[in-house]
């Protein structure tokens, strides 16, 4: 694939240099396969491939961007011209620069040849097994909403007029299931997913069972009275909160005054048991790649250590503005948009506590298994108020399921209130968290 993408990138740089502007070409080729199974039948099978080009231009400090899915010579020339035209309208900014050529990139094993070698029929069989196991888990599992197998393969190439050149190919695969369990007119959802770098690590049985377990345990949920009690967050719930955390440690948000962490480097922002890293080199991590969306070499970044804020996540622009190095956190969703700051493998590091013991220690508490409306939380003020469901803990035991409550508070005290971190790190895509216990949270019920 590199031999197809590279000449296009060279044409971009030549066209830009002929006009006397600095440029970067980002080329992406993607292949995807998705299989959705219902009742053992392949309900949807999708296979596709696409290629595209995104061009960034810096013209006397002014940034221009244009993209195209057409890679013909004429379209490439037009895309460069559009990007230059656009640069006339943006404001000049001395911090707009492209990264310089990297001395080297970390060596990573991010391609699993078994993924492309496994037959379509074998992949369909795995998806069927997920569904079969889930249905067999409990007779109350009544509806399979979606169940399936996905894989993708991508080649990313970045080159710029500073002489930077980076190209790499990666792939990944996954299984997922969304289902419903029903009992006495009550219906509850359950899901599970497993995304892996290696296809031999996919475990259909685990995925099927977990989804069944999640749905069944929530059946016949009650409502509870408002209370302020200790809470334990399932790893999945914590990864939902990490979406907000990602925004709060994004240098652009910080520079623009959109993060409550602004000006707090060196300060305690979380409990001392709390450690947060972003690591693009994490072995077999779904977010692992040798370079970021601007071609900067991947690295491991410690963001919060023993509760103390160490620094933020930077791309080249925001780093230049703060007099820092890029942390290689420029990400690109596709060739259609500019790179932006994002996380790679974003991890709350596990502690030593046994999750069962964390529950067993509580006389009364709430085990949170689901949060709804997380996007309504405010990363600037830190205020959040989200819908939640979970299981009551009484005398160290999980007792009855609860739904229809709201948990509310401020993220500032939320992270300070973490008193115990479990030893059970669990990945959900590029985010990972162990079980955590909070001193208390305000729960609004009836």
């Amino acid at each position: 694939m590199e031999d197809i993408l590279k000449p296009v990138g060279e044409k971009v740089l030549q066209a830009a240099q002929a006009k006397g502007v600095a440029a970067e070409a980002f080329l992406l080729h993607e292949k995807e396969l998705s299989i959705e199974v219902i009742n053992g039948q392949v309900e949807t099978l999708k296979q596709a491939g696409e290629m595209g080009l995104g061009v960034r231009i810096i013209n006397n400090g002014r940034l221009g961007f244009a993209y195209s899915s057409d890679l013909s010579d004429q379209a490439v020339q037009e895309t460069v011209n559009d990007a230059i035209k656009i640069s006339a309208y943006t404001d000049s900014d001395e911090f707009n620069i492209f990264p310089t050529a990297a001395a080297s990139y970390p060596k990573m094993n991010i391609i699993d040849n078994d993924i492309s070698q496994m037959t379509l029929e074998e992949k369909i069989e795995m998806a069927r097994e997920v569904e079969h196991i889930a249905r067999a888990y409990d007779k109350r599992v009544s509806i399979i909403e979606r169940s399936g197998y996905d894989d993708n393969e991508y080649t990313a190439l970045i080159m710029n007029t500073n002489g930077l050149y980076a190209c790499e190919r990666g792939n990944s695969c996954g299984l997922y299931i969304f289902l419903v369990a029903e009992e006495n007119a009550d219906a509850q959802n359950g899901f599970s997913m497993m995304i892996n770098k290696k296809i031999k690590d996919l475990n259909p049985s685990l995925v099927g069972k977990e989804a069944g377990y999640r749905a069944v345990r929530s059946l016949q949920a009650r409502k509870i009275k408002s209370a302020r009690i200790p809470c334990i967050l399932e790893p999945y719930v914590t990864t939902r909160f990490m979406g907000l955390l990602a925004q709060m440690v994004d240098a652009e948000s910080v520079q623009k005054g959109k993060s409550m962490f602004a000006g707090k480097v060196g300060d305690p922002v979380a409990a001392s048991v709390f450690n947060l890293v972003d690591d693009a080199t994490y072995k077999d991590g779904i977010g692992s790649f040798p370079f970021d969306g601007e071609g900067v070499p991947a690295r491991r970044n410690v963001i919060i250590k023993n509760g103390i804020l160490q620094g933020f996540l930077y791309d080249t622009y925001s780093a230049q503005k703060d007099g820092q190095q890029s942390t290689a956190n420029a990400v690109r969703g596709s060739f259609r948009s500019l790179p932006y700051i994002g996380t790679t493998n974003f991890i709350i590091e596990p502690g030593h506590a046994n999750p069962e013991q964390m529950i067993g220690d509580l006389e009364k508490g709430f085990y949170i298994t689901e949060v709804m409306g997380m996007h309504t939380a405010n990363p600037i003020s830190g205020d959040f108020s989200v819908g939640a469901a979970g299981i009551m803990i009484e005398n160290g035991e999980m007792t009855y399921p609860v739904r229809g409550v709201t948990i509310a508070g401020n993220l500032g005290s939320f992270f300070q209130d973490i008193e115990t971190v479990g030893n059970d790190l669990r990945f959900y895509g590029g985010r990972a968290a162990p079980t955590v216990r909070l001193k208390s949270l305000s729960i609004a019920g009836e």
Partner: protein, 475 residues
């Protein structure tokens, strides 16, 4: 766009070894985005893209292939993959498909095409909006203004000989403001947009929108914390229809109903809402953000009465779900792009206005929460549970609007809320958004009159004054 001969060839290839139905969807789009933050034009993004999606349906199951190679050879290759993936094995007699071009039932007018309006002019409006928001107060710390436009041409042809073509222009504008005072930070948000060209500027002033957003963020600085507990909630028409879209609309999408994932399954003909409540999905409203003449399967967009005076009348269907139920598509088959298969989606969804005077609805409320602006929301369609964020809320006491509150969320259950609506105003307010489902985002609008819900759970940071709470505090 392709000629009929090529379309026929591709579809023939797609059904070569059998299959019940084949379709090709071709899309060519050109779009621009301008983004202003920190008082400067920070990003402009412009791009063009074309691609095709080919679908083969066999026994209700779908094989979908997309490509951005629109050459006749590239498309036939994609069609062959789709046909193979559909698992068809029997050779079929080739038959020439005779296409008839569907005539549009109405024209969505676009006077000023996105590409015919210069960047200079668009930027002028963006900067004016930025200034208007900042001029309102020194407490406004940040303003972001984003405008986007898109021109999309689609061509849809299928093995039934249907051929539809449509050109859709869409423009929108979003303002976000951040206000700060003594460590308190609040945000404001306003948006406008439609299926139209930049003549939208004749109807909507971006400066007014920006001022409204800024005003809201400032107002919320002095808001008190929202109370928690069960209380009557008046939702003003200015709140838009987020609630009806999320808490009701999704549950009426036939794919969710058929999979048993909707609280409204098996409820046709039953009373599912209060007498005064009727809900309609209408793709044919002029210029609204979710409007279209043809849906993304080439079916006519239409006005569908979903709930009539509280009684469930109809679900929303696309082609596949309709054939499963032995009925016709309601023109609700939509997709984000050529990369996705069409699924059942809403267009413009609203609660029909009633007879009550909105001011009188507030006056007749002894105590409760008035919601003037909604934030985001999420719903579990299986059981109807939802949670919504309130952007702008006020406490009502003795029929009067007393003071603003912040941080409130509404937690409840869709069917329960619809049954508990006891007042329906004679006004109607729209909001726009991009609705996400199965990973696909499509533009929609939604609306409602001022309504009152007898009782709803309001979550907030302030604990209620109930005995239980006191007991816990003493502990």
């Amino acid at each position: 766009m392709l000629n009929k001969r090529t379309l026929a060839r591709v579809l023939d290839e797609a059904l070569k070894k059998g299959g019940d139905f084949a379709e090709i969807y071709i899309e060519e789009k050109q779009g621009n985005n301008i983004f202003c933050e920190d008082n400067r034009i920070e990003k402009i993004n412009s791009g063009r893209e074309k691609g095709a999606g080919i679908r083969v349906v066999k026994d209700g199951n779908t094989a979908y292939v997309y490509t951005n190679d629109l050459s006749s050879r590239g498309l036939c290759e994609a069609a062959a993959i789709a046909n193979h993936a559909a698992g068809s094995k029997t050779n079929r007699q080739p038959e020439e498909i005779a296409f008839s071009l569907k005539q549009p039932t109405f024209n969505i007018e676009c006077k000023r095409l996105p590409n015919e309006v210069a960047f200079d002019e668009k930027i002028k409006h963006v900067l004016a909006a930025n200034r208007a928001a900042r001029n309102l107060s020194d407490e406004i710390r940040q303003v972001t203004v984003a405008i986007g436009d898109m021109n999309k041409k689609v061509q849809i042809a299928n093995s039934d000989g249907e051929l539809a073509e449509e050109e859709r222009c869409r423009v929108r504008m979003i303002v976000n403001t951040v206000a700060a005072r003594e460590g308190i930070i609040q945000t404001g948000y306003e948006s406008a947009g439609g299926v139209c060209g930049w003549e939208l500027l004749d109807k909507v002033s971006f400066e007014d929108l920006a001022e409204k957003a800024a005003d809201l963020s400032i107002k919320m600085l002095s808001a008190r914390s929202a109370p928690a507990g069960r209380m009557p909630v008046v939702m003003s028409s200015s709140a838009g229809g987020t609630m009806v879209h999320e808490a009701c609309g999704h549950g009426l999408e036939a794919d969710l109903v058929q999979k048993g994932l909707s609280v409204y399954k098996h409820k046709k003909g039953q009373q599912v809402a209060a007498d005064g409540v009727s809900v309609i999905d209408d793709a044919t409203i002029d210029g609204k953000y979710g409007s279209f003449c043809f849906d993304d399967e080439g079916n006519y967009g239409q006005r569908t009465v979903l709930i009539n005076k509280g009684e469930l009348q109809q679900y929303m269907y696309d082609r596949l779900t309709a054939s499963k139920d032995g009925t016709k598509s309601t023109g609700n088959g939509r997709r984000e792009s050529y990369q996705e298969k069409p699924i059942t989606r809403m267009s413009n969804t609203f609660i029909v206005p009633g007879n009550d005077d909105p001011e009188e609805v507030i006056k007749s409320t002894k105590a409760g929460l008035l919601v003037k602006k909604m934030g985001g929301g999420q719903v579990n369609t299986t059981n109807g549970d939802f949670v919504f964020d309130v952007q702008e809320g006020y406490i009502i006491e003795d029929g009067e609007i007393k003071y603003p509150v912040r941080g409130a969320t509404l937690t409840g259950n869709g069917p329960e809320v619809l049954r508990n609506i006891d007042r329906v105003g004679n006004d109607l307010g729209f909001s726009i958004g991009v609705c996400g489902k199965d990973g696909q985002g499509v533009p929609v609008s939604d609306a409602q009159p001022t309504i009152r819900i007898r009782e709803l759970t309001v979550g907030g940071t302030l604990m209620g004054d109930s005995p239980q709470v006191k007991r816990i505090r003493r502990k």
